[in-house]
């Protein structure tokens, strides 16, 4: 009897803890408009706004954590945070290590940006951020791949002539090209890559994934996700 009471108490306690638990979401904070740091030094962007709304719907308390892109998956599996929202495309390779929710951003178009129309995309030097689907694509395209840890450096490599072109998410490149005063231009056709952007979670966190999955589904249904997409990516963006 005593053990029964004790274990019931323990169960109640753990259940209470689980309820009050904060879900920590890891992001990069360097990939506008998905996630970036605004002038006040706070995280901002499409995923920050979306993540906060998802947590509200799933009735979770959420907290944002900044983490380098390179170590964003290792730190998730060693439980430094519980989820990733960092413009991460759903791919088969990543799915072997972590789990994904359904996509909250339709399969992305990636694009080449260079300083001139004549940039050689097939056999020239192309910059991409390391450990991204874009880097994988460039490596197989026959061009010489140069990898950088941050997206900023990939664009800088094109500006200073180290690379002929940069290959990245089109949404990341658009504001940069618009404000480069003609220095940077889009070259070639956009390339559809990946299975959409989703939220990454640990394989063993099935319950949390279902919660977020349901929240994303509800936002797709009532159109609030589309409104967010248009707010951050413009009228021309793909919606659900």
């Amino acid at each position: 009897m005593k053990t029964l009471i004790l274990s019931t108490a323990a169960l109640a306690l753990t259940a209470g803890l689980a309820m009050a638990d904060t879900v920590r979401i890891g992001t990069e904070g360097a990939y506008a408009p998905y996630n970036f740091i605004n002038d006040n030094g706070d995280l901002d962007g499409f995923e920050i706004e979306l993540g906060n709304e998802l947590c509200l719907r799933a009735e979770l308390t959420c907290e944002w954590v900044k983490n380098d892109w390179d170590s964003i998956i290792p730190n998730l599996v060693s439980a430094n945070y519980d989820a990733i929202m960092a413009g991460m495309s759903i791919t088969a390779e990543r799915d072997e290590v972590i789990d994904f929710t359904q996509d909250y951003y339709p399969p992305t178009a990636s694009a080449y940006v260079a300083t001139s129309d004549s940039a050689d995309l097939e056999s020239g030097v192309v910059a991409a951020q390391s450990a991204t689907i874009q880097a994988g694509y460039v490596a197989e395209s026959g061009a010489t791949l140069v990898e950088f840890a941050t997206p900023e450096e990939t664009v800088a490599a094109v500006r200073n002539g180290e690379a002929d072109a940069v290959f990245a998410d089109r949404d990341y490149l658009v504001p940069l090209v618009d404000e480069s005063g003609g220095e940077l231009i889009f070259v070639g056709a956009p390339v559809p890559l990946g299975g959409g952007v989703g939220m990454g979670l640990r394989e063993s966190d099935g319950a949390l994934r279902d919660q977020f999955d349901a929240a994303i589904a509800s936002m797709k249904e009532d159109g609030s996700l589309n409104a967010l997409l248009i707010k951050w990516f413009g009228e021309d963006t793909q919606t659900y």
Binding site: A10, T14, L17, A18, A20, D21, T22, R24, G29, A30, A32, P33, F36, I37, N38, D39, N40, G41, D42, D44, G45, E63, V65, K66, N67, D68, S71, P74, N75, V77, S78, A79, N80, D82, V97, T150, E152, V155, A156, R159, P175, L176, D178, E179, R202, E203, S204
Partner: protein, 294 residues
């Protein structure tokens, strides 16, 4: 910050910069300088303590303790810093959590490692999942301090070990002749005299430690290098009131000046310390001081 900052597009260069350099992000950048200074202030004494214990262990007359001390020095000195920094922070964190897990959740039946996941019960998490963000950051900083102390402690141990051996044998023999025990000889004769021999090596280490602080960035701590890279990156007008091109070079130039100033101040301070320690010592430096006075 200033009242005229509401519409930065209309400002002249000077006012624009006065607004730009006082934004919230820049305040975080300035605060990160103190983070680096704090790391140095905490790590240096802790590493010195690690080094002292390591050196004592290495010259212990009890063989196993001697092996531990020498092994510590040899292993840490032989492995690249970066490998250690990446290894320790993950390994220490998981070791702490595993120990807490065993103590706090004895009823847990599932394995801690499931595939690539490392799972402990909620109560064993460090810091607890419910802790505010500053606790997580402090914990990360604490791990960084330990890692720095372990790595630099090994180098300090080697320097102190050398310093202890450099104290003239005659001094120790005299102490023994006066009937001092081993312990007394160590603390009253050897330790006060070894610093002058160890200081050149230690000052070298201090310089290397100052220069190694950007490794904090590798450990996921938002230090000056992180902010310089973040702030210097291209900002477009869609996401910032202060759009600018790639200014990383200027931010890194500021860091360069900061580090040069740090090392210059340290050089002056260490030189003074050396003068004091040399006083009355049976070294060429001490001899020169004696002659200058006479």
């Amino acid at each position: 910050m200033f009242s005229y900052c509401t519409d930065p597009d209309t400002l002249g260069t000077f006012r624009w910069f006065s607004c730009y350099l006082t934004t919230g992000v820049h305040m975080q950048f300035y605060a990160s300088f103190f983070k680096v200074l704090l790391l140095l202030a905490i790590t240096a004494p802790v590493a010195l303590a690690f080094g002292f214990v390591g050196a004592m262990a290495a010259r212990s007359r009890i063989a196993p303790i001697g092996w531990i001390g020498k092994g510590y020095i040899a292993i840490v000195r032989g492995v690249p810093d970066i490998a250690f920094f990446l290894f320790f922070v993950i390994a220490l964190d998981q070791a702490f959590e595993y120990l807490r897990h065993r103590v706090l959740c004895p009823d847990w039946t599932e394995p801690v490692r499931q595939g690539s996941d490392f799972l402990v019960c909620q109560q064993a998490k460090l810091p607890l999942g419910t802790s505010p963000e500053w606790v997580h950051e402090t914990y990360g900083f604490f791990l960084a301090v330990i890692t720095f102390a372990i790595v630099f402690g090994a180098f300090a141990a080697n320097v102190l070990y050398g310093g202890m051996r450099a104290v003239p044998r005659a001094q120790l023999e005299t102490a023994e002749a006066y009937g001092m025990s081993h312990r007394q000889t160590f603390w009253r004769v050897l330790v006060p005299q070894m610093w002058v021999f160890a200081l050149p090596g230690l000052s070298n280490l201090w310089m290397v430690l100052i220069k190694a602080t950007p490794l904090l960035f590798l450990l996921g701590i938002e230090d000056i290098v992180y902010w310089a890279r973040e702030l210097g990156g291209t900002k477009t007008s869609r996401f910032s009131d202060y759009p600018h091109g790639d200014w990383r070079m200027w931010y890194f130039l500021a860091l360069l000046i900061f580090y040069l100033m740090m090392t210059r101040v340290s050089e002056v301070a260490l030189e003074r310390l050396m003068q004091r320690l040399t006083h009355g010592q049976a070294t060429t430096g001490g001899e020169a001081q004696r002659k200058a006075v006479a």
